[in-house]
């Protein structure tokens, strides 16, 4: 009997090294310690032995059983402690989706911060304005061809002529009236045009109006404002040129060009080989407009400018189609 027990113990000690996981261990347990296992079977034989042999074999049985249980417990401890480490480090993980702010919200916030550093307050205007605010107050009387520069969406109304602001300049006179001089204000907002849309034209887009009035406002400062703004926005110093233009509410009126950020001024498709990109309209506020707000034109000067926000964002992020901004397409939104 002792010999049989020795063999079992020996076998247990041998297979021990082959046990690599908890499943193997379970098989080990069933084979040696289970209800129908090897030890159980031998115990049944021992019970049937005569008294004196039974005692002796019984004691030895207990010794072997203890040994095998020890092996089992040891292995169990070892395998269980090892188990949690078992992970394929190359597993790709789970995708965690975050929310996204619209790129225009992000860009406007960045622009607002840059102008804030230069001392500009922020104002927000309404979108439905009077004909006076959008045109007459800005030196554009009725039936004047300069109004053709802005294709207008008119609102059906019995009394006053109302429209969707075609430019954020519509708030100039109101702000000039309500604020103390010196003043420096920016007004970002949606503007509307009666325009057929394509990849470069939209009927609804965002503009940023800038307005400054004070004794020291002049073209040098205006150039400085643009220089700083574009450097901060595009992240590097860019050459700036002013060209003659015409807006009824500024004089001198300017077109502002920056060195093409795509070809560094060498000339490419986007800048039509000129090396420069038109990015803003600007000028010194026309005395007509200052007078609308009762400002002494002999004492104070002002400058104003308008930036197309979509255009700046398209240039910066290489976005080819302006219609993407208002499409609600999450494939676009989630990129930023």
């Amino acid at each position: 009997m002792k010999e049989e027990l020795d063999n079992i113990l020996k076998e247990a000690q041998e297979v021990k090294n082959n046990i690599k996981n908890l499943q193997d261990l379970e098989n080990f347990r069933i084979k040696f310690l289970g209800k129908k296992g090897l030890l159980k079977k031998i115990l049944e034989k021992i019970i049937e032995l005569p008294e004196n042999e039974r005692r002796e074999s019984g004691a030895y049985f207990n010794f072997v059983k203890d040994e095998i249980e020890k092996i089992y417990e040891e292995l169990k401890k070892k395998l269980e402690s090892k188990q949690f480490v078992k992970f394929d480090i190359h597993h790709p993980g789970r995708k965690i989706e975050k929310g996204h702010l619209h790129i225009l919200t992000q860009a406007i916030d960045k622009i607002v911060n840059i102008f804030s550093k230069m001392g500009f307050d922020l104002e927000l205007g309404i979108e439905i304005v009077t004909e006076y605010e959008n045109f007459d107050s800005l030196n554009m009387p009725q039936d004047h061809p300069s109004r053709d520069m802005w294709d207008t969406l008119w609102i059906k109304s019995d009394k006053q002529r109302l429209l969707l602001r075609t430019h954020t300049s519509a708030h100039q006179v109101e702000i000039l009236k309500n604020r103390n001089i010196p003043l420096k204000v920016i007004i970002p907002g949606k503007v509307y045009r009666h325009e057929a849309t394509d990849s470069r034209h939209e009927m609804q887009f965002h503009q940023l109006e800038g307005l400054a009035v004070g004794e020291s406002c002049n073209l040098q400062e205006l150039k400085g404002v643009f220089y700083i703004f574009f450097e901060e926005f595009f992240g590097r110093k860019l050459d700036i040129i002013f060209r003659t233009s015409y807006f009824p509410f500024t004089e001198p009126s300017l077109e502002v060009d920056i060195e093409c950020i795509l070809c560094n001024g060498k000339g490419c498709e986007v800048c039509k080989n000129t090396g420069y990109l038109e990015v803003a309209g600007a000028g010194m506020i026309h005395p007509f407009v200052l007078k609308q707000a009762m400002i002494d034109t002999n004492k104070y000067y002002g400058y104003a400018f308008g930036l197309g926000i979509e255009r700046l964002v398209m240039l910066k992020y290489n976005i080819p189609d302006v219609r993407l901004f208002h499409s609600g397409d999450l494939r676009f939104i989630r990129q930023f």
């Binding site: 039936d143 207008t152 400062e221 015409y246 004089e251 999450l330």
Partner: protein, 675 residues
Amino acid sequence: MRFRLKDLEEVLTKKPNWKKIVDLLNKKSFETVLEDNKYLEVDILPNRFADAGNILGLAKEISALTEIKLKPLRFNFKEINKSYKDFIKIECKTHKCLNYFGRVILNVKNSPSPKWLQEFLEAYGLNSVNLLVDLSNYVMIKFGAPLHIFDLDKIEKSTIIIREAKDKETFISLKEVNYELFKGAIVIADPKKVLALAGIQGSKLAEVTLDTKNIFIEAAIFDPASIYRTSRMLNLQTEASYRFERRVADINALRALEYLTYLIYKFAKGQVTKKYFQLKPLEKPKKVILRYQKVFDYLGLKIDKKEIDKILKNIGCNFIKKTANYVYVTTPLERLDLTEEIDLVEEVIRIFGYDKIKIKFPTVHKIPSLNENYQFANVLKKDLKEIGLNEVLTYNFIDDNDLSNFASFFKEFYQEPIEILNPVSNLFKYYRPFIFLNHIKVINKNLGLYNWLRTKDIYIFEIGKIGGWINKKIKEEENLCITITSEDLDKVLIDGKSIVNYIANSLGLKKFHITPSKLPKDEFDIFGYIHTEEEENLGFIGLINKSILKKYDIDQPVLIIEIQLNALKKYYEEEKIYQHIPLYPAVFRDISIIVPEYIQADVIENEIYEVAKDLLEDIELFDIYQGPPLKENEKSIAYHLIFRSPEKTLTEEEVNNIMEQIIKRLKEKFGAIVR
């Protein structure tokens, strides 16, 4: 406007270096492109069309920039010994004709045009008609003044009347289209018929043909606003109307008339009658004072006064007086844009050169103030982004279908929609009264993008303007709209509620209340107004009706939340104050009760708060159940209750006591049965 280099070279004394000219024009005058070394494409600014929108005018501009001189224009013709007065009588009956000149030429020989003239017109985008008409167009391109030739023999009683049109009077165009006129339009007529729509087009009835013998040439100045209005109302825009709208200098009109007379004398062998008709004297040159200091102030830079004088001279100003501080000049007659000091400041600065302006760091007078509305919107946007919502921007317009689908709902808020008189298309006919209408379409679009997005859970938000008519006034507001959709209805409903609470919490409020409303029944399956404890209405939350969603091709639940930003903003406190971290431990209890179905969860909550007072720190609903084994009109509802005292550790006994009171109250009030 496109110019042939050849035509410009013809009037300049020296052939310019065109590459250099293009560069100068671009910086100082107009956007210009050199095409094929043959043409200049010049974008003449609207205020300069009167003087520079013609060959001589652009040549003058080039001369001012380069000091290349213009050739003097020499021409002469003989007049016969009869006066124009023997052949035409002219009456002007409207103040909208600002000036009028006219010549009579007899026995002209009209013919097809020679090749050089045909080529000229083609280069400027005009069709050749016959010699007389073509010559008048040639002169228009050269001088900038539109001229009109009438067949003198087709003018009834040799009388020309310049007057305003009668209502419903007929004008027959050159293409024999009948136009119905209206008061305010200016016509050139004889006693019987309309000969021309002034400043826009002549009539077939007085047209010059190859058989024409005797002619009357008109050179006129009409009220620009009137021409602008008439040409737009009739949708008849012509080379002439384009120029009259942008104003024509009377000196150019007169010069053009005399030059055309010369050309007809030369090429059509006409006999020119003596003198020309002139309604009014020519405009006098404008006298303007320019203070040197103004130029310095605008530039932010002192420049040599001699340079200022030279620029003024080059653009054609004549000096009346000159002092150390200012010059007093007359501006050129054709420069209608130069009438006051600021105009001369601009002239000096642009020709001096914008590239010479240095960069100055802007003066900062004060630290800019924050705009509360902007800050608040940004805080909300960031909060919503943080819980995984995506911000969209949509067009602020809706169409007739949107409006009729939500017609009764619309009436709850507004009387009339804001209608666009001239919409870009029918899809953009009204300014939106709510943002969610746009979001339904965005949902549809993104569900269609399943192939790319691989999800049918779309959670979006937007902050934007909305509006409508109330009491004959436009109400424009800023709204926050959150729209969520998923195939799982429970998820949509519970997430919707959670987002409303999240917004309240992020503003530092415990929660918002929702009062169900059955008014817009057709449009929403579930609908409630969102308000605060003080009962202020903030907005609404609703599950859009299935059959309406079908119209938008959406077959899964869509829940919308729309909140007025202005109302919400009142509850926003930017500054946070430190709250003491509680010293004593909390005691947790659960309660589960059965109540009649109609009793709202938040009413029960309020009741529990009222009993427990300050000792109840928080209450959290964790289960609502309806169905067997409960009765038809019953529901079971379960809360976690968290008790804490700021002063001491609560004992079991104390909490048991409160729980008993709560249960008692709920039994009394709602007939609640504790499970």
